[in-house]
């Protein structure tokens, strides 16, 4: 079970991030999680949104290079060792994490959500599910 992540190529020049976020906001797209990987000249903005198709269309319309990647959104316990348990689960099956970032924390039930991109997505889904972790679907993500 995976969720769709948008990756946007962004040049390092003033105003690019505000352009993108404003563009999504004006089109009613809600950003649920984000991270930026950057170099001296450019960066890649990774976004989890409530409507990835619409977001992609809007950004492409403004000539951004956008790609959609399937990543995992997992629910972990918001407590010491919560993340480590999930990593152990992947490590024992020889799955490498390419990148990850925190999505949102649910204060009421003490859980947190994590976005993960690994080298072997299918294996990781199996490993995590068998390890008792909850993976979030695109549909569930919209209602969170």
């Amino acid at each position: 079970m995976t969720v769709k992540q948008l990756s946007v190529f962004v040049e390092n020049r003033p105003g690019r991030l505000s352009t993108i976020t404003r563009l999504l906001g004006d089109n009613g797209v809600n950003i649920r999680a984000m991270s930026i990987a950057d170099t001296k000249d450019f960066g890649i903005l990774r976004l989890i949104v409530d409507d990835s198709e619409k977001a992609q269309k809007v950004l492409k319309g403004e000539n951004f290079a956008v790609t959609i990647t399937n990543v995992m959104a997992i629910k972990i316990l918001d407590q010491p060792g919560g993340l480590a348990d999930a990593m152990d689960c992947l490590y024992k099956d020889n799955i490498s994490v390419e990148y990850m970032y925190a999505a949102f924390i649910n204060a009421t039930d003490g859980t947190a959500y994590l976005i993960l991109r690994v080298d072997k997505t299918d294996d990781a889904v199996t490993a995590l599910t068998e390890g008792g972790f909850k993976l979030v679907s695109d549909e569930e993500l919209k209602s969170l």
């Binding site: 992540q5 190529f9 962004v10 040049e11 950057d38 170099t39 000249d41 890649i44 000539n63 290079a65």
Partner: protein, 439 residues
């Protein structure tokens, strides 16, 4: 069964070498006399060498004649090389004048006819007949692209669509509604039209296009395949210089292995650009042309500054006209960066190998602390997108390494957002040389 006409002028396009030599010799003698009588600028050049028209008896004497260069054209601007009184001239055409003063070329009606006849040969070689609909999307006006292909298309009897360049959506609409079969424009504009068609969701199969005649700027074999695929056509190269008439000095046949030079109108030589020595066929050097039939703007041994190779040999199309390879680039386009000669076409050939489609790019050269900086901006497109920085960094590295092996110097590759490099729908502006701005 009706067989398609393969040649516009079979007699001249398929002449034996001996016949061609005899024809060229006969015409050369006349052209030299015409220049001697009417162009004092060149007559003085001959006199300095102690040459008289009688010293030129055949094309074997061609090497005795002095060269004309772009600098001569500038010196003689505007009327110094005129071979006919202005009242016998009916037209001027001009270069864009990106390097120094623009070149203005003059034409009598005879010259216009000769030029259009050369273009007509190119259109026929690309499969054109009077049944075709020829869309001319070169710029019209002073630039020879539009009027040259327009005139040639008339001569062949094609239904001519004088679109000029730009307004791409209208181009595509006319292409669809009027069933254009031949597209004539710059290769970069053809690529742009192909890109737009794809964006609009139009299948190339739904178009009637079968051939394209593209020239006026350097393009690579990879770019040809890309255009052929995106438009569903066979793409033919065409070559020419405003000084000599315009496009049509040389043209490609279906073999697509070099352009046949209209030798009955233009003698081609390859010289060593440093010494002026004439080089044998098959050797790389500077292309030099001598016009044989021109009235208003006759040019003897004009140095084009194009670097290329001539090859003779039987062509499968049946033409005997000598073939010129695609020029490596004009020396006007050639950049000297850290002492190394760099042609934009070399960069292009590396870029198309890296990406699935030809990325838009721009070369930016500057001088910082007496050292040349060499940056290449490359637009990221859908075919190379990724969600990791590493992929992009690897791509930068691969392009830089490949370029280093081709050019011998290292360039800094900067990836930029799609469509962030300004596009022109006519000639692509590929080079920004800031060193010139600083003087």
């Amino acid at each position: 069964m009706e067989t398609q006409k393969r040649f516009r002028d079979e007699k001249h396009e398929c002449m034996s070498r001996e016949e061609m030599k005899a024809l060229q010799s006969e015409k050369l003698v006349k052209q030299v006399q015409h220049v001697w009588d009417n162009v004092p600028y060149y007559r003085r050049k001959m006199e300095v060498r102690g040459l008289k028209p009688t010293d030129i008896q055949s094309i074997d004497d061609l090497h005795k004649l002095p060269f004309l260069s772009k600098a001569d054209l500038r010196d003689a601007y505007p009327y110094g090389l005129l071979g006919k009184p202005l009242d016998e001239c009916v037209r001027i055409q001009s270069t864009s004048g990106t390097t120094g003063k623009r070149v203005v070329a003059f034409y009598t009606q005879h010259d216009v006819d000769l030029w259009e006849e050369c273009v007509a040969r190119a259109i026929v070689a690309a499969g054109g007949t009077d049944k075709d609909v020829c869309q001319v999307a070169y710029g019209y006006g002073l630039f020879t692209g539009g009027s040259g292909l327009h005139g040639g298309s008339h001569k062949v009897g094609c239904l001519t669509l004088p679109m000029s360049s730009g307004n791409t959506e209208r181009q595509i609409q006319f292409m669809q509604d009027l069933g254009a079969t031949i597209l004539c424009c710059t290769p970069s504009y053809a690529a742009y039209i192909g890109e737009t068609i794809k964006e609009m969701g139009i299948s190339p199969d739904s178009l009637s296009l079968k051939a394209g005649i593209f020239g006026a700027e350097p393009w690579t074999e990879e770019m040809r395949r890309e255009i052929e695929k995106s438009l569903g056509i066979k793409a033919y190269d065409i070559y020419g210089l405003t000084e000599l008439s315009g496009p049509g000095v040389a043209f490609e046949c279906e073999e697509q292995t070099g352009m046949h030079i209209n030798e009955d109108h233009f003698i081609a030589e390859i010289i060593n650009p440093d010494t002026g020595e004439v080089l044998p066929d098959g050797t790389k050097g500077e292309l030099v042309f001598t016009s044989l039939d021109k009235e208003a703007f006759p040019l003897l041994r004009y140095r084009t500054r194009d670097i290329c190779v001539l090859t003779r040999g039987k062509c499968s199309c049946g033409r005997t006209l000598v073939k010129m390879a695609k020029p490596m680039g004009r020396s006007d386009d050639m950049l000297i960066i850290r002492g190394v000669n760099v042609f934009p076409s070399q960069i292009e050939s590396v870029l198309v190998k890296m990406a699935k489609t030809m990325p838009n790019y721009q070369i930016v050269v500057d001088r910082v602390n007496n050292t040349d900086t060499f940056d290449i901006l490359v637009e990221v497109d859908d075919s190379m997108f990724s969600d990791t920085v590493k992929t992009y960094e690897d791509m930068q590295k691969t392009i830089a390494n490949e370029l280093k092996s081709v050019l011998g110097i290292r360039a800094k590759i900067k990836l930029v957002e799609p469509k962030s490099i300004p596009r022109s729908e006519g000639k692509a502006v590929r080079v920004i040389d800031k060193r010139k701005l600083h003087g």
